[in-house]
């Protein structure tokens, strides 16, 4: 049996590994690099605003993903749910329905998708990766059906009140940024300060032990999927209000960045488990890097490069940290 590890570090070693605040240091380093490289483009308040706005929707999707991942499940339907929500809201608005019906309907769709995911994963016992992968394909098809395989554009004049939802600025930042902040606060409270949060992490850590300790594993997983569905649906409403156009392709760029942010975030602030502050740091870090490079003239595919590399590096470092601790 392993003996108790000495926690007080007797030897000073230069730690080249990822410690729990390294994300912040790396972010600061990136800011420094870009500030020196392209100072006139980078060091503008408009840059910060661009970063935040650009990331608000992404952040909402990533935060929604936290609950299923904490509970040990993959939810690959987040992008598809966002897309269906965008398309449905646009369709409803352009077909004479009010904002309440359009938005309410999208949230309802998010709940239904979450329920179907739980049915597949909990009752039918399909692996969550495979199950949600299949489901996401179904959702894209539904989006095509709703938009009749084309796009729906909301004219600025016709839907001004709806655009106010996300675009109105408060203290220089659009409301979408505040929505993301509120959602972050909400999930942070759930994960850190409620029994529900404990159950989520327990199910993710050891479902057998959790069950024997009285945790309703199936129910916890279901709630995780439903909240992810609702959050992604809400992200869709914010997306439409920000961008104004709905296509069956709207959500495709949000899947990988969300996973990158969540897994990179798991190495930060509260290392070893996915967490809200870590995810926010990761989102910021990735966004700063991408925005800086784009301002410096890099082609647009630099986003995918960054996010993909970040995901691989994050997971590799996470398992290295786990091995060092255990």
């Amino acid at each position: 049996m392993s003996e108790i590890k000495e926690v007080a570090a007797p030897r000073r070693r230069i730690n080249f590994g990822f410690d729990k605040y390294s994300g912040i240091y790396v972010w600061a380093l990136l800011v420094l690099i870009f500030a020196l490289w392209i100072p006139d483009l980078f060091l503008q308040t408009s840059t910060l605003k661009q970063v935040l706005t650009f990331q608000a929707i992404s952040a909402i999707v990533a935060l929604g993903l936290l609950l299923p991942v904490a509970a040990g499940a993959f939810d690959l339907t987040i992008a598809g749910t966002l897309t269906v929500s965008v398309c449905f809201t646009a369709w409803a608005l352009t077909n004479g329905h009010g904002v309440v019906v359009a938005a309410g309907g999208s949230i309802l769709i998010g709940i239904v998708i979450g329920l179907v995911n739980s049915l597949v994963v909990v009752k039918l016992k399909v692996d969550s990766f495979i199950g949600t992968l299949g489901m996401s394909s179904v959702l894209i098809a539904i989006a095509y059906m709703i938009t009749d395989s084309s796009q729906i554009v909301l004219s600025t004049s016709g839907y001004a009140p709806f655009f106010e939802f996300a675009r109105t600025e408060m203290f220089g930042l659009p409301r979408s940024v505040y929505y993301a902040a509120l959602i972050a606060l909400f999930f942070w409270w759930i994960l850190e300060y409620t029994p529900g949060g404990r159950y989520l992490y327990a199910v993710g850590g050891n479902p057998v032990a959790s069950r024997l300790a009285g945790v309703r594993v199936g129910r916890v997983t279901m709630i995780a999927f439903i909240s992810s569905g609702v959050t992604s649906a809400f992200a869709g409403i914010v997306y439409l209000s920000t961008i104004g156009t709905a296509t069956p392709d709207s959500g495709s760029g949000y899947l990988l960045p969300a996973f990158s942010a969540v897994f990179l975030g798991a190495t930060q602030i509260r290392p070893g488990r996915v967490n809200v502050p870590g995810t926010l740091v990761a989102i910021f870090l990735l966004a700063t890097g991408v925005t800086g490079l784009q301002l410096a003239g890099a082609p647009s595919y630099v986003t995918q490069l960054f996010n993909g590399a970040a995901l691989i590096i994050a997971v590799a470092l996470a398992s290295r940290t786990a091995r060092r601790q255990g």
């Binding site: 049996m1 392993s2 003996e3 108790i4 590890k5 926690v7 409270w189 850190e192 300060y193 409620t194 029994p195 404990r198 159950y199 992490y201 327990a202 850590g205 050891n206 057998v208 032990a209 959790s210 069950r211 024997l212 300790a213 009285g214 945790v215 309703r216 070893g272 488990r273 786990a322 601790q325 255990g326």
Partner: protein, 513 residues
Amino acid sequence: MTSATLATSALSVRNATKIFGAQVALDNVSIEVAAGEVRALVGQNGCGKSTLIKILAGFHEPEPGIEVLVGGSELALGDPIASEAAGLRFVHQDLGLVGNLDTVDNMALGQGYITNATKTISWRKERSKAREALAALGYEINVNMPVAALQMSERTAVAIARAMSERGTPPKMLILDEPTANLPGPEAQRLYQLVRRVADSGVAVLFVSHHFDEVFEMAESVTVLRDGKLIDTRPVAGLSEDELIELVVGRKLEEHDKGQADNREHGEQVLQLSGVGGRNVSGMDLTIHKGEVVGVAGITGSGREEVAALVFGGHERSGEILVDGKALPQNRPDISIARGVALVPAERHANASLLDQTLRENITLVDPGRHVSLGILRRNPEKSDVRVWLDRLSVKPSGQTEYKMNQLSGGNQQKVILARWLRQEPSVLVLDEPTQGVDVGAKADIHTLVDEAAAQGAAVLVCSTDHEELVRVCDRVVIMRRGRAAEILRGEQITVDNITAATIGRDSAEPAA
């Protein structure tokens, strides 16, 4: 012994010795088995029987001075390929089959397939080869089904058929480890006949066993080992069960052996099982009172492994469980817990621990809502609560609520799991192998905690393979045999030897009182 006798022996072992560091696992053991003879190898845990088998299998290298002849030819030791080439064939307790492959594929494992001229597998020939092999053992099964779907005795037959197949040299001796351990009664009978067939074909059979049924029904002779030494080899005919027990345990068992006589106050009935059954257990009746500590003993396959989970009520079962007079639904651990039943499961890593979470999170898993006020879980009161429990159970290092579970030693981890449940003040505390992988100091601490729990009025059930532990803490010990509660030992009857003897004895005709 004449050289003629030696030449006809299937196996002749002289002076087998094996030392592991300071421990003498085998001390100058010699055995001899004739061709076509069925020999049982018997002894308590740690007597050396598996060491002997592993030496024959080429897994261990014995000390010099040993001489092993298989069918008259000398065996090169420490080499599994040589053992197989010499004609020794092994079937271990887990059978070594691949569940999702069918019989044909399993029989080809390690041997290769019959191919035709174009190097493709000749499935027809393979299938008939498989069927013939099984028919020779008296079995007729669907050779195209995945073996996981076959019955246990059919799977054992497949494993034996594979062992018996010709591979270069014909098999001279079949060595089985606990062949009927996981078989219910009628299937065990089929296996006895199978072994008879193997022996009749001229192949000797040596089997390791804890079950006296196997010994008396299958074997012609029995070799008894104790503490690494050969005690005796006797013919089974004319041997009584008491004599065999005496050889295994080493002394005559008196009618009322001295043991612990705990005088605990027992209150009213708290837990009542009627006709409870699961996968390996059937028709179990049991009553436990407040303040009582009841033990459950039994060898592998006796059903002991399932009792704790059945009593907790978290799995599917037949029969009825009443806690304080109210029926417990099956498959609902959360309801069992709400009614005051607690389970400390065996194999804590798999079943109880959240290894990379803090001690605080591990201990509060059952009731995390205890320190919630105004919708927020208050960390500081929680930490104080947990610190009290870490102290009470002497978890070392002390007071470290934020340590990760995997930073503690096994004994301390087990105490943390115990803390999780004692914090709930259960009326029924079920412990499954409570000191598995636990150091001596922590073991004593845990036993004291069991005493304290009972003193405070809990009804305690301890399922364990550690007979000394049962003697230390129990007022009564239920002996499981072949899925039933076969016997109950009380008071002075509770001794290590009595428990051992009872768990390996034959099925008694009468159920437990």
